[in-house]
Symmetry: C2
Subunit: 456 residues, 2 copies
Amino acid sequence: MKVCKFGGTSLASAEQMQKVANIVMSDAERKIVVVSAPGKRFKEDTKVTDLLIALGDKALANEDVTDALQRVVSRYEQIANDLNLSKDVVNIIKDDLLSRLATKEEGEQKFSDLIKASGEDNNAKLFSYYLQSLGVDANYVDPKEAGLFVSKDYGNAQVLPEAYDHLYELRNRKGILIFPGFFGYTPDGELVTFSRGGSDITGSIVASAVDAELYENFTDVDSVFVANPNVVEDPVEIEELTYREMRELSYAGFSVFHDEALIPAFKKGVPVCIKNTNNPTAKGTMIVNERNYLINPIIGIASESGFSTIYVRKYLMNREVGFGRHLLEIIEDEGLSYEHMPSGIDDTSIILKGDQLTPEMEERIVARIKEDLDVDDVHVEHDFAMVMIVGEGMKEMVGIAAKATEALANVGVNIYMINQGSSEVSIVFGIIDADADKAVQELYNNFFVETKDPVA
Amino acid sequence: MKVCKFGGTSLASAEQMQKVANIVMSDAERKIVVVSAPGKRFKEDTKVTDLLIALGDKALANEDVTDALQRVVSRYEQIANDLNLSKDVVNIIKDDLLSRLATKEEGEQKFSDLIKASGEDNNAKLFSYYLQSLGVDANYVDPKEAGLFVSKDYGNAQVLPEAYDHLYELRNRKGILIFPGFFGYTPDGELVTFSRGGSDITGSIVASAVDAELYENFTDVDSVFVANPNVVEDPVEIEELTYREMRELSYAGFSVFHDEALIPAFKKGVPVCIKNTNNPTAKGTMIVNERNYLINPIIGIASESGFSTIYVRKYLMNREVGFGRHLLEIIEDEGLSYEHMPSGIDDTSIILKGDQLTPEMEERIVARIKEDLDVDDVHVEHDFAMVMIVGEGMKEMVGIAAKATEALANVGVNIYMINQGSSEVSIVFGIIDADADKAVQELYNNFFVETKDPVA
């Protein structure tokens, strides 16, 4: 049994829905289909989820919602028309939206989640209706009735353990099941959404719960690439990578996957395949537990800009038991999360996302570190990029760091920080923002250019 | 005005004392001479300080001290005889020791410091007596009378700020001043020693206090080498390096200098010269505030064995505010000090000296981390070496990391950790112990072999 999830662009129009229907019907193992809300049809288009947020905001501001509501309904209406479906389904969707809008007084966050979630919910109904019109035994699944129970954290629901047992029962249902992504219900029946992009989370939870042989995540790219196509021209495709590699890559500049989405599949060991709705015969990228690391010890190069560093120097710092802990306490106290803490003998740097800092906060932190820790020097520097090479194979291979640092030296990039933990899934280089693109390009040249074959 | 300090081997015998006298008399700027206790004359010899520790232990155990006392007195006696000095000075030393031994009841730590400090104190008297016998206007200085005030931390005295003002007055005294190293007095007159090797500290304090133009530290090597001569054959000499570079090197395997010794000189900016008593015309090694980094961005390669690593992995670790702080709290709580904490996205390693850990402690720490932090994996690994390349010039130079990692790859050394902070005085490579020597040798080959000129 396979669970497939289709993203917003895969379900944005009648034409896209036809592709999805063909994909679903072409493989009898595709039993459960998790759907997103209709996404963008073209670059300047607006996603239905964003239309819904605007509609909810207007309602809460007690403004007239007629136009905003019509914009949402029109999207479904156009798909239904183009698919030659009866007007009934559009009326069902419109009534559903009106009944949601009527609950405005029950609380802002609750209302907001309810409105947002309608995007996926109604699209699931529409798609199910469409499949039925093709003679397919398709059935919309209500997440409440199926028991997708979550915590009551509006906009950031966490799945509850019992949900997995409930959802396991989906295996026994007949036909193809159309499951709306993005939301679940508290045990007392209140709708709560996952964090944004949460249809990936739904798919991963359902795939894990029914013990799927494969979780197919359909999007609009043929595969994950070893480097950002906006930086490197026509980069090599990744055939297979591990959960941990995907996680490191998605962290730094690879936006294919929602960070948390993989957890349920990862914990259950369900393999994930990223495929293209517009080119379903392309092999896609497999995300697995283990791969053969010998062929390609390195699987990808990621880069992210906008880091700052808080540099602290104190003679004999390393003799002071508790220095690092005290420093991190100040960082935590200011509500900051940090990425790395490389250290020398007498100095240490805290590397963190720069957008967390304001000039006032910087001044206060510097003053606190100076005062509490009696340091010789403390200052903040900005505009660093973290460039990361990722691959589980580097652990067993000699010379990876040499190859990477040689690439950076080749193009005159100065390295301000290197961080390689004992896990060796990645090496991180801190360089200045302005050097990031040429660093990624040259790392790509050094690690991937000879082959040009898809890597696995 | 120069302050010179002579180590134990420089004052271990009459022959050595003659060399020191010649050095002192050959330069009229050498005004203040800080002396250690007599050290080893040959490999199997025992330092006077160690004889004194044995003597003190015997006294505290209420055993007969006659032999132990005689062994100490004999060392001074032989030097006095060989220098044709009168027996008076030996009697003065013997009486001094007897009067110290008589204070046994005043407290163990106090007594122990008093006995140990006699090694330097009596050697200063003896050397002063010898210089006088040569017609030199030499004067022993009593640190109490001169005002070298320290905190009452037995065996680990910290200099008090007022000491610098008192000692400044030494500038106005006549003749050559012979100052015993290793100890000072609390403001209420109690003798307390510095940590072991503390004559370097005395020299550095005095040089700073009198605002010396140079602090000469005489030992038994011509200079500091860029790598350990026990690993690399006939390594290049260092002509000049900075305080920070010396500090990083002395931390990891370079035992030339006592860690804390440089602080006073460093804070005042007094340059330090390391010279050889047995070859005083050799240029020695200068330790300065700034050097020209362009010629030799790297100044040395150090290595230390016996590190362990506590590896921790948890999915989405980096999202958990306070994770690093909490982890370090456990480490601190167990009384451990750590060296580095490299981190990936979902994992982090604590690298620390392995001799701090017992199997029971390891088990307890692993259990605590598992329980308190709910991690996916935590385990301890042993037998790592930290190899460090040091040089303030690497900050401005592209390609240093490439050159270093290339060297390690050349000889098949796998890198388990790289740590380079934003200060860039050093890069640390974590490798397995067994690879340390070949790593140092090849790094030496890559960075220093072309030149073979002394580096600065």
